[in-house]
């Protein structure tokens, strides 16, 4: 049964077996401990601070009191604009890769590009956003359209665009996975009915892959909400007295209609944590606010991730059931 001829080497074999299992099990246990190590203090100190008024008030007294409503609003509007830009392009790319070119040379080139994009450090995206979107695209738009300094300055729009480029690989890879999970027999059935490739893709494959694509979108939103480095120079602000909203007078409406202003700067949760923890006037005094903000961001991304994980396992199980 084993290599061994005598009891001593048999014992060493058993020892190796145990050492192996314990070492690998310890690594996994450490991951769980690491999560607990990070989550427990932040949840403990954060829960003391996070109250309805903390969530729904603006900062007060030079950022040493009050809530974080503008930061929450900024994060949500940022990821909304981001996903609106990244999702269509990402889905189209994945559809092209899976349904049209599969493993041809062009697909390999595109995949290599996507992989490399995913490996670029996030701070480089920040430099790119500043150099390309604001100083190149923005300034030139201003020159051409005669808009003064509307486009050529840090703004919600450019931060969202920068983040969209950053999360594009996430959207593409997860959509590809979702498309591949749709059984090939479904496509064959559609083709057998005389459907064209686009008809098959749009009415059969994409329909079936919808939950998987949604999962990927949620993961991308979670990733975008947690990123800080790309928005440092592209639009996040330390403190703004107003939300990035403009009000329009609409005829027959009793109130002014608020619309998100993509040309404003904005406050953002992740940026708020960074700036409050490193560069605010009194770092120690505002520690509770930092814990509260971290609590909100952590819970927000955790809920996004949890939704995605649960949805994916549910979706996989459903697919398995439908195939049996």
């Amino acid at each position: 049964m084993t290599f061994s001829h005598n009891s001593r080497s048999r014992r060493s074999v058993r020892l190796l077996e145990w050492a192996f299992v314990i070492a690998a099990g310890f690594s996994m246990a450490l991951v769980v401990l690491l999560i607990a190590w990070i989550f427990v203090p932040i949840l403990y100190y954060g829960a003391k601070v996070v109250t309805p008024s903390f969530l729904f008030e603006s900062p007060k007294k030079g950022m040493t009191a009050g809530g974080i409503l503008p930061a929450i609003f900024g994060t949500l509007s940022l990821v909304t604009l981001m996903i609106l830009a990244a999702l269509p392009v990402g889905i189209a790319t994945a559809v092209y890769l899976v349904e049209y070119v599969q493993d041809s040379p062009i697909a390999r080139v595109i995949r290599a590009g996507v992989n490399n994009l995913a490996g670029i450090p996030s701070i480089v995206f920040g430099l790119f956003g500043l150099g390309f979107f604001i100083l190149f695209v923005g300034r030139h738009l201003d020159q051409v359209l005669q808009t003064g300094m509307l486009f050529g300055k840090p703004a919600l729009l450019w931060a969202a665009m920068t983040l969209a480029v950053l999360v594009l690989p996430v959207v593409i890879v997860s959509t590809e996975e979702a498309l591949r999970a749709v059984p090939w027999s479904y496509r064959e059935a559609a083709y057998a009915l005389g459907a064209t490739r686009w008809q098959t893709t749009s009415r059969v494959v994409l329909l079936q892959a919808r939950p998987g694509i949604l999962t990927g979108a949620i993961l991308a939103v979670s990733r975008g909400a947690g990123e800080t480095a790309p928005i440092l120079f592209t639009g996040a602000a330390y403190f703004l007295p107003k939300l990035p909203v403009v009000y329009f007078n609409v005829p027959l409406l009793p109130f002014q209609l608020p619309i998100l202003n993509p040309f404003d700067q904005f406050m953002e949760l992740a940026y708020h944590i960074y700036i409050m923890a490193t560069q605010s006037i009194n770092v120690q005094e505002t520690r509770p606010i930092q814990y509260g903000t971290t609590f909100v961001l952590l819970v927000m991304t955790f809920l996004f991730n949890l939704t995605a994980i649960v949805m994916r396992s549910f979706y996989r199980r459903q697919l398995k059931a439908s195939l049996q």
Binding site: V32, G119, I120, A229
Partner: protein, 343 residues
């Protein structure tokens, strides 16, 4: 040929083609056979073109990032004498001796742009982080792929995803506010924020990266290797250590290199937790400043078009080059072992 034959000819050609592709079992062939029937449809063509254009966005983005980074970075090379990126001669205020020193100090009356402290700082954080994360990441990969039963794996895997999902700024804040105290208490360091604090924070981020690639690689090892080893009477640990790991060691190496690329590019943790003192040191308990932290900390405050502005883009270009190279090596290794493994 098909056009002249009319509809019947088309169908016959399609059938013949289908037979051929069925025989070879290739789905792509089926697609191709399908598509020549609809060659004339403008809508289909238009949609395909539209999708192609969309999928070029990723490549376009990477090209633009490269162009705009290096365009500004190269200006630093023309604006600042090249030897200043290594170091400068400095006259000591007290002893009046002239020494050659590596200083990054881009503001002040005589700005100094030595990249050496930034590069050494980057590696002083990234190397320990990779070392820590490789051990635990490979361990997690082995656990998920070789030890855990399916049910335990389903339970354990979300934890890795959860760790990967924690925003880096949260880990940075945690290391700054709490982790640094722990490490100071354990190692009695004189600097509260130092390279080790940053390295531990960064390893949290790259453990999931390494673990998931290692797991994929282990899963891709052909069954024959495993079965041959078991057939020779090897135990599970002997099989893994002496048959599977040697067989897929290039894949494991790729995972480690990928993790290291991530460690070098990590920004928010190092800017918050390493103390940000630009000095050349090999002491892991001293404060350091990485390339990423320099950009994050300084770009917001510099005038556009100044020498420092270009120098920061040069730092970004160096960073881009290093991480791009590491990703490239990873891809190269994976491409090579892909045939050997069933990935």
């Amino acid at each position: 040929m098909e056009r002249e034959g009319g509809r019947k000819g088309k169908l016959q050609a399609l059938e013949a083609h289908l037979e051929a592709s069925r025989a070879q079992g290739a789905w792509t062939k089926f697609h191709r056979a399908r598509s020549f029937v609809h060659k004339g449809r403008a809508l289909e063509r238009g949609i395909e073109l539209f999708l192609l254009l969309n999928s070029l966005v990723a490549i376009m983005a990477i090209t633009l990032i490269f162009l705009f980074l290096f365009r500004e970075g190269v200006r630093a090379l023309t604006a600042i004498p090249l030897d200043q990126f290594i170091g400068v001669r400095v006259v000591d205020y007290f002893s009046n001796e002239e020494t050659f020193r590596y200083i990054w100090q881009p503001v002040g009356s005589s700005p100094k742009f030595s990249l050496i402290p930034l590069i050494s700082g980057t590696f002083l954080v990234a190397l320990p982080a990779t070392l820590i994360a490789s051990g635990f990441g490979i361990g997690c990969g082995l656990f998920l792929s070789e030890i855990a039963q399916p049910r335990l794996r389903e339970l354990a895997k979300p934890f890795l995803e959860l760790l990967a999902g924690i925003p880096t700024v949260v880990i940075g804040f945690f290391m700054l506010a709490i982790g640094a105290d722990w490490i100071q208490r354990i190692f009695h360091t004189s600097y509260r924020l130092n390279a080790l604090v940053g390295a531990i924070g960064v390893s949290c981020v790259i453990i999931p990266v390494i673990a998931s690639l290692v797991e994929d690689v282990l899963h891709a090892v052909p069954r024959e290797i495993r079965e041959a080893s078991y057939a020779l009477g090897a135990t599970r640990s002997q099989t893994v250590l002496f048959a599977i790991l040697p067989y897929c060691s290039p894949g494991i190496a790729a995972a480690v290199i990928l993790g290291m690329g991530r460690a070098i590019g990590e920004t928010m943790i190092v800017v918050m937790a390493t103390g940000n003192a630009a000095q050349v040191t090999f002491d892991i308990f001293k404060s350091v400043r990485t390339m990423t932290a320099t950009i994050a900390g300084e770009l917001g405050a510099v005038a556009q078009g100044s020498n420092e502005y270009y120098a920061l883009f040069l730092v970004g270009s160096v960073l881009f080059t290093i991480t791009f190279f590491m990703n490239f090596v990873t891809e190269l290794i994976l491409e090579r072992v892909r045939k050997r493994l069933r990935m």
